[in-house]
Amino acid sequence: MSPDTESMSVCGCDPASLRELRAQRLLHREAELLDAWQFEEWLELMTEDLRYWAPVRTNRMWRERSRSISMPGESAHFDESLDQLRERVDRLATHMAWAEEPPSRTRHLVTNIRVEPTADPAEILCRSNFLVYRTRSERDMDQVVGTREDILREVGPGEFKIARRTVIFDMATILVKNLSLFY
């Protein structure tokens, strides 16, 4: 997506549609950057105070369902500040991160993008589902599916960044050999 596209006006008829379109463009651009291994550019979509967090799910009886997704401070698959994410990106950039050298080939399929306002007029809540398909090496293939809940913050007129991301992986036991990339 060229800078030109970014600056294009969006449908200005009503705020809800506007938000949806902007959130959608942001998430699609994000997916494109991730699949192209443009991780430095990806980091630029985040605010400085980013929290990138992925709780862990366990298989519980219904009556204990409140404990089936871990809480902040408990088990997590990711629990990162922007600096910490950058460390992961830097690691990949060493090209000695053997889990990703030779690099995997990923595809982020993002669906069910839903947007709603928050108490803070500068922030919107954006939910989306995803399927991340990964092939690597000769014949490896795996898929990771889940949902995300993002806080998107307007940092300039019509320009949103990701201020908080919660990723819910649906698997209780992670059925892939690692979570080496980003979701």
């Binding site: 992925a54 862990v56 366990t58 298989n59 519980r60 009886m61 204990e64 404990r67 871990s70 401070g73 408990e74 088990s75 997590a76 698959h77 990711f78 629990d79 990162e80 910490q84 460390e87 992961r88 830097d90 690691r91 990949l92 060493t94 090209h95 000695m96 991160a97 053997w98 889990a99 990703e100 090496s137 490896d140 209780a172 036991t173 992670i174 059925l175 892939v176 050999k177 690692n178 979570l179 080496s180």
Partner: protein
């Protein structure tokens, strides 16, 4: 099933045939002779603190329920209804007063005793049907060491304490460091398409791989400007000498002789350093300052000095399932605990910057073993060292003065081969005694 165990190992030359990682018959025999007879980690006190707390785990591929009883004891039983074989307890963990089988409704207490059978009086013959004999198989023996519960199917196994032997001294350096002991505050589960023994030998013995396998993580986690300074824990570790301990029962551990916390998180490192005197007074200076690195309690319980404790369930010869707990000092302040946890998430979880690369290596090793020539190759475990002379150090047991060594791995496979070649524990122990005598 015809497995020539002796042909797969040459302990004098330091050679192990790759076939042990892939052969189906070897695997079947392992389920019987290794997992069917060893002391296998079941749970830690902190995972099931209250009466009625339970969790599901495995001994090998057999599902086990472990539950805290009203009297505070811990019981374990096969998670299989003896009626028609249904899984009795179907949650990973929780709290329950009893379990009801969802097939025909037989009910069990949390010790695995059959307490109720619908229509029992009308459908069963009272003279032959006795509920007290119809419960699931209880794990034959459950014993615990400082809050860590282990189980075995073997009547004739040595006691847990005897089984741990000198390893207990090293185990203490991880788990008995602080007066409050440890508590599990996080858990990760994932699978790797590779044989469980690749994990076992690495945690026992393989410190060497880190500088290459984890080169990228070490590089980015090294604070800028400290690459050669003594504040850089990675550099300090690599430049230090180290030791490895090998147990006659297959356990192994290794460490670098580096005083002071090696934890990459400064909050944690500071706290650990502050505890040094307390630890020294509990365990002595040697274990306050060293003796901690990587460790395996045979067959599948593994831990590191950063607080990851893991049991690795075998899932066929070609897959392992890792359950990794973050265990932290119970007495540490919350922020320290949090940083222990966050640090492990970022290094030794499925997304961990170290863990990822281990998975990649193991998966590739395994895949290659589809090859007929590849599986016949004799791999090199030739980094051998003479043990410290008796009395040369305070380290108990068979210890070599190097952590870049294959000695603990060879010890692990030596015991593994004993089990795989024997029908009884007495037979296996006899093998060990004869070897000892022959020296």
């Amino acid at each position: 099933m015809n497995v020539d165990i002796d042909g797969l190992f040459d302990f004098d030359a330091g050679m192990v045939c790759a076939e042990i990682f892939v052969d189906e018959d070897v695997y079947k025999l392992e389920l019987e002779r290794v997992f069917g007879r060893s002391w296998v980690f079941l749970a830690h006190d902190s995972m099931i603190p209250r009466a009625g707390d339970f969790l599901q785990t495995y001994i090998g591929e057999d599902p086990i329920v472990v539950a805290r009883q009203k009297d505070g004891s811990v019981r374990a039983f096969l998670n299989q209804c003896i009626h028609r074989g249904m899984r009795i307890c179907r949650a990973d963990e929780g709290n329950a007063r009893s379990f009801m089988c969802s097939f025909h409704g037989w009910t069990y207490d949390t010790a695995g005793n059959l307490t109720g059978v619908p229509h029992e009086k009308t459908v069963y013959r009272p003279n032959t049907f006795d509920k007290s004999t119809r419960g699931p198989r209880k794990v034959t023996r459950v014993e615990s060491y400082k809050g860590f519960h282990f189980g075995t199917w073997a009547e004739d196994a040595p006691s847990l304490l005897e089984y741990l032997g000198d390893m207990a001294w090293y185990f203490d350096a991880y788990i008995d460091r602080y007066s409050g002991g440890l508590e599990a505050i996080a858990n990760h589960r994932w699978i790797i398409p590779a044989n469980w023994k690749l994990k076992a030998e690495q945690f026992a013995s393989d410190a060497l791989h880190a500088e290459i396998s984890h080169a990228s993580a070490i590089q980015v986690m090294t604070p800028k400007g400290t690459e050669t300074a003594e504040t850089n824990h990675a550099v300090r570790a690599v430049n230090a000498t180290g030791h490895q301990f090998a147990s006659p029962y297959g356990h192994g551990t290794g460490w670098f002789d580096v005083p002071g916390s090696l934890h990459p998180d400064p909050v944690v490192a500071n706290w650990e350093n502050e505890q040094r005197e307390n630890v020294a007074s509990r365990l002595g200076a040697l274990r306050a300052d060293t003796a901690r690195g990587h460790a395996t309690i045979f067959p599948n319980f593994h831990f590191l000095l950063n607080g990851t404790f893991r049991v690795v369930h075998p899932r066929g010869p070609n897959e392992m399932e890792i359950w990794a707990w973050t265990m932290v000092p119970a007495e540490a302040p919350e922020p320290v605990k949090e940083n222990y946890a966050r640090s492990l998430t970022r290094t030794f979880s499925p997304s961990g910057m170290f863990e990822q690369d281990d998975a990649e290596n193991w998966a590739e090793i395994q895949r290659i073993l589809r090859g007929k020539v590849a599986r016949g190759v004799r791999l090199s475990y030739e980094m051998v060292h003479d043990p410290l002379p008796s009395g040369a150090s305070e380290f108990p047991g068979y210890v070599v003065p190097a952590n870049y060594s294959d000695v603990a791995a060879l010890g692990l496979y030596r015991h593994y081969a004993d089990l795989m070649s024997s029908h009884t524990w007495a037979e296996a122990v006899e093998m060990k005694l004869q070897r000892e005598a022959a020296k």
